[in-house]
């Protein structure tokens, strides 16, 4: 699957398993919050990503 801050682009390429990243220079980061919160958020995103890998696609094109 792909994590990308500009999700229209992988969508354009026909990629089905996508999660929107947080920001272009930090798709899985956030310099504006505390380190601890950033790590928690990253973990959440990665867990979502892993679960997405198990998902069957709704319309396998």
């Amino acid at each position: 699957m792909q994590i990308s801050s500009l999700i229209k682009i992988p969508e354009m390429m026909g990629i089905k398993r996508i999660i929107g990243g947080i920001g272009v220079p930090y798709p899985l980061g956030n310099p504006h919050v505390s380190k601890a919160e950033e790590e928690r958020t990253r973990q959440k995103y990665v867990e979502r990503a892993l679960r997405l890998l198990e998902q069957p696609l709704i319309d396998p094109a």
Partner: protein, 349 residues
């Protein structure tokens, strides 16, 4: 009025030297035409004369690169041609690119038009279509007659500097370059015409096509996440500090494969971000923002998934040419396949 002087380039097989066993034949030339050159001359008729033919073994050409090219070029130049026609090479995997290379050389070094004909899957097509005009050809010499005719006729047109019709009309492969011209109808009329055709199920031709992004069918879901081996890949340009393999920050065509075995996370002492298209500081401060090794280790311990693969793959996806991006992707995928990786998380800015 002097006739246009054409030189024909062919390989050892069409040059009647031999088959595979003669693929290492060094280049030689003969006056007039040889093999399919006879057909070429018939098609050209009075309009041009095949003054000479240059023959080179396919293996010789590719195994002796620069030397072979120089030798072929000298032989071509020896005829003082106005126009070079190579092949057609149908689907031949070495002959096709050789024809492409010969045409490119003739164009650049001799300053004359040079064309060849290839089958749509011939590797020479992607390599040379932006640099030279390549006409359509079938997959084998079965279609030699029509393919040679298409090639010869277009070559003459190009030589005469006649304005060309579109790729479909003239039978050549589009370079992928946009060029303006005037239509017979204003865009509004063409738009309504196209919509009506589309609604009626009639054929229509879009004037701007989706670039060939090569849509890949998505893989089936991971069957058992708790046993899966997951690899991390990024185009955010995270590399070992100092960028030992000199991966380019932009327009690159290489990627790195680096070990993260036993690492609990990526540290700014060991890694940095070199992507030219975004603010590097955040990725360099904390490379896990692109390659979330830290989060993966936590979830690995919790047994959400089987194992984090020992290597990460990285490149800087800034203004990379599409063809290079494709090659890198294919290479990484092949490597991952050979290691029985279950799935990949790819991160991008």
């Amino acid at each position: 009025m002097s006739k246009i002087k054409v030189v024909h380039y062919i390989n050892q097989f069409f040059g009647q030297t031999g088959g595979e066993d003669k693929a290492d034949t060094p280049p030689f030339s003969v006056e007039g035409c040889l093999g399919p050159g006879v057909l070429l001359q018939t098609i050209l008729g009075d309009r041009a004369k095949v003054v000479g033919t240059v023959v080179c073994g396919d293996n010789y050409f590719w195994e002796n690169q620069e030397q072979a090219k120089t030798e072929v070029l000298d032989l071509l130049a020896g005829f003082s041609p106005d126009l070079v026609i190579a092949g057609p090479a149908f689907n031949a995997g070495r002959y096709g690119p050789a024809c492409g290379a010969v045409c490119e050389m003739a164009q650049e070094k001799l300053g004359i038009p040079a064309l060849t004909g290839l089958y749509k899957e011939n590797p020479g097509l992607e390599l040379y279509r932006k640099k030279i005009l390549i006409t359509r050809a079938g997959s084998s010499a079965v279609s030699m007659k029509e393919d040679m005719k298409r090639l010869a006729e277009l070559a003459l047109k190009v030589y005469a500097k006649e304005p060309l019709g579109g790729p479909d009309e003239e039978g050549y492969y589009a370079h992928g370059v946009r060029k303006n011209r005037f239509s017979d109808r204003i865009a509004a009329v063409r738009g309504v015409d196209m919509l009506c055709d589309k609604l009626a199920g009639r054929p229509f031709a879009t004037e701007i096509r989706l670039p060939d992004f090569d849509i890949v069918k998505p893989a089936s879901p991971v069957k058992n996440l708790s046993e899966a081996v997951i690899a991390l890949v990024t185009d955010g340009g995270i590399v070992p500090k100092g960028n030992p393999d000199r991966i380019k920050s932009a327009t690159g065509n290489t990627y790195g494969k680096y070990s993260i075995a036993k690492m609990e996370k990526l540290t700014p002492e060991e890694f940095e971000c070199i992507h030219a298209g975004l603010d590097n500081t955040y990725g360099s401060e904390d490379p896990n923002r692109f390659l979330p090794v830290d989060a993966m280790r936590v979830l690995e311990k919790e047994k959400l998934f089987g194992r984090l693969f020992d290597y990460i793959y990285t490149t800087a996806g800034c203004t990379v040419e599409l063809s290079n991006a494709k090659k890198m992707g294919e290479s990484i995928a092949a490597d991952l396949h050979s290691q029985n990786i279950s799935a990949v998380i790819l991160t991008s800015g």
